[in-house]
């Protein structure tokens, strides 16, 4: 394929996969060469979300690196790791079966930092002998990280959520919700298709650019939905079949759009279900011996390293987004989730079930008599 055609198809795939990011976009897992890697070249691992693989490859242009694509069900690294699709098992599988073991003389691999919610570094080492380290959050920082021999400054460790990420997330929600709203309007009110699609786009943009700047985002969203439903009902009350259709479909459509947990698509107020239940991170300083894995993987840089005595401090708990990476990685189980009543979720439960405690398991964990996911203090 010639270069410009390739660039065009890549761009089209970028746009399509950004707009429908909520669906899995798998590419073939396995080994890829970037540049001319040799037996001593670094090994970088990522998930098999097509968009990510292309971005990582582009970011590594000019480097000689082995890229191992692990099976993450076609989902992006952070979501896959937090949802149980990119864990130690998938990384072990990729390292053992991709053929990388026959190509390099060492057994050291760099993982994306955001995989730390799912992949347990020491378990990978135990299962297949590879030492894995968590590299930078962003693929763009990989060349700098590799050049610095694997040391990370705070800019490499922190999630940013700048305007371009907000725009991407808005597109991710605007495309499917716009399509759904347009499809609902199509049978009886085709002239509403464009305005409704535009409304979906405008709402998505507003939500992602204003979410963390609104005093009570969810209250405002619900108020907005109620007003929208009321307006739609009044506007369409002419007794026709179209009016009935609108009356039936407008409320659920608007409510669905406006009550979606947008915070799950942001690193701002992540884990809002945890937030509602009052789950927070507790650091047991008696157990901490200053391994500092929490410091290395926290995407909000909430932890500080202290010497004498050597231990970590959860210095900025207000910044915590409850991603669970610190809990998963601490080899001494010094970190855990706890709610306001002191009910704990043990670290092993988070390692096993990831953050899949948010939905069905949240009920079991806090309220159910069998309580498989949590234990009282």
């Amino acid at each position: 394929m010639n270069k410009s055609l390739r660039r065009t198809t890549d761009l089209m795939r970028d746009v399509l996969q950004t707009a429908f990011r909520l669906l899995p976009w798998p590419c073939e897992p396995g080994l890829r060469e970037v540049g001319n890697p040799g037996p001593d070249s670094p090994v970088v691992v990522t998930g098999n979300y097509d968009l990510t693989v292309r971005r990582v490859t582009r970011a590594l242009a000019g480097c000689d690196v082995w890229l191992v694509v692990a099976p993450s069900a076609g989902i992006n690294v952070w979501c896959a790791a937090s949802g149980g699709h990119l864990g130690s098992h998938q990384v072990v599988t990729a390292l053992k079966t991709s053929g990388i073991e026959q190509r390099v003389g060492h057994r050291r691999a760099v993982l994306p930092q955001l995989a730390a919610t799912g992949v347990v570094a020491r378990e990978v080492s135990h299962r297949c002998g590879w030492k894995v380290r968590f590299g930078p959050v962003y693929a763009a920082d990989l060349p700098r990280y590799l050049a610095a021999q694997g040391t990370k400054d705070e800019t490499m460790r922190r999630v940013r959520f700048d305007w371009s990420e907000r725009l991407q997330m808005a597109a991710t929600w605007a495309a499917p919700s716009g399509l759904i709203m347009a499809a609902l309007a199509a049978p009886f009110r085709p002239h509403w298709i464009l305005p409704l699609a535009a409304l979906a786009a405008a709402l998505s943009l507003a939500i992602f650019f204003l979410y963390d700047r609104m005093p009570s985002p969810r209250g405002l969203l619900l108020a907005g939905a109620s007003v929208g439903v009321a307006l739609a009902s009044v506007w369409s009350a002419d007794g026709s079949a179209g009016a009935l259709w609108t009356a039936l479909l407008a409320p659920p459509a608007l409510l669905a759009l406006l009550t979606v947990d947008y915070s799950g698509s942001t690193p701002i107020a992540g884990g809002s279900h945890f937030e509602e239940r009052g789950w927070h991170i507790v650091l047991d300083s008696e157990r901490c011996r200053g391994v500092f894995s929490c410091f290395e993987v926290c995407p909000e840089a909430c932890f500080e390293r202290r010497e004498e005595p050597r231990r970590a401090v959860h210095a900025l708990p207000d910044r915590c987004i409850r991603c669970g990476a610190c809990v998963v990685q601490c080899p001494l189980d010094a970190l855990r989730f706890e709610d306001e009543d002191g009910v704990r979720i043990e670290p092993e439960t988070i390692r096993r079930y990831k953050l899949n405690l948010l939905g069905k398991r949240a009920v079991d964990a806090g309220e159910g008599p069998s309580a498989p996911a949590a234990s009282g203090t």
Partner: protein, 219 residues
């Protein structure tokens, strides 16, 4: 909250896996399971290794036919379902291990009478599948059987056309119903031969999109 509902739906995929598979295969998955178990268990007390046991449907059939089963799956929630399903089957006849398929290289060589893989190879990448098939062969005693039941690409042009036309909606439905992403295997027989196996037989269902292939480790 709508997202919470979606999250609960996606999370409960292991519980829905069996009914989802029945729906997606129009019920043919039961015939596939029966064929796998019947072919794999040659005699009472056969030792069978199962790769990717999922919710334990085939494991249970193998145990009921008198086999001792070592079953692997990497998904702890699927294994929970399997444990529940096997609770009332002959206790002690099935050992369930949380392990990836590629870790079968840690199991003893030339040890098992049969290796079974039901709908697990199509969830693997090509390189993973090649590795697993090669290692599966090594785990079999000489003359032992490798029995694979999975989604495959049909041979005939018309079947292939229908198959590819239905692929996208089927993949989406499959993901929503069972939480798994599979890719029909283009040439299972060829891949088994590449792994050094001798093909003994093949049976197909559902416009030839679902197959059980039996292969033998040469004595």
């Amino acid at each position: 909250m709508s997202s919470l509902a979606l999250m609960r739906w996606l999370e409960s995929a292991p519980e829905r896996y069996d009914s989802g598979m029945r729906l997606l295969t129009l019920g043919r998955v039961s015939a596939l399971h029966d064929t796998l178990a019947r072919t794999a268990v040659s005699a009472e007390g056969s030792h069978v290794l199962e790769i990717g046991c999922g919710t334990g449907s085939v494991t249970r059939l193998l145990v009921q036919r008198g086999a001792r089963v070592t079953a692997l799956d990497q998904n702890p929630e699927m294994l929970e379902q399997a444990r529940r399903r096997l609770a009332d089957a002959s206790p002690g006849r099935a050992e369930l291990i949380e392990q990836t398929a590629c870790e079968i290289d840690t199991l003893p060589d030339s040890h098992y009478d049969a290796v079974v893989a039901s709908l697990s190879l199509s969830e693997m990448s090509r390189s993973e599948r090649a590795f697993v098939l090669r290692e599966a062969r090594r785990r079999l005693r000489p003359g032992g059987l490798l029995v694979v039941g999975d989604e495959v690409v049909p041979h005939r042009k018309l079947h292939r056309f229908v198959h590819s036309a239905l692929r996208a909606p089927q993949a989406l439905l499959g993901w929503l119903l069972t939480g798994s992403v599979s890719h029909p295997i283009p040439d299972l027989v060829h891949e088994l031969r590449q792994a050094g196996m001798e093909i003994c037989g093949e049976q197909r269902w559902l416009l030839a999109g679902l197959a059980v292939v039996t292969a033998r480790r040469k004595p």
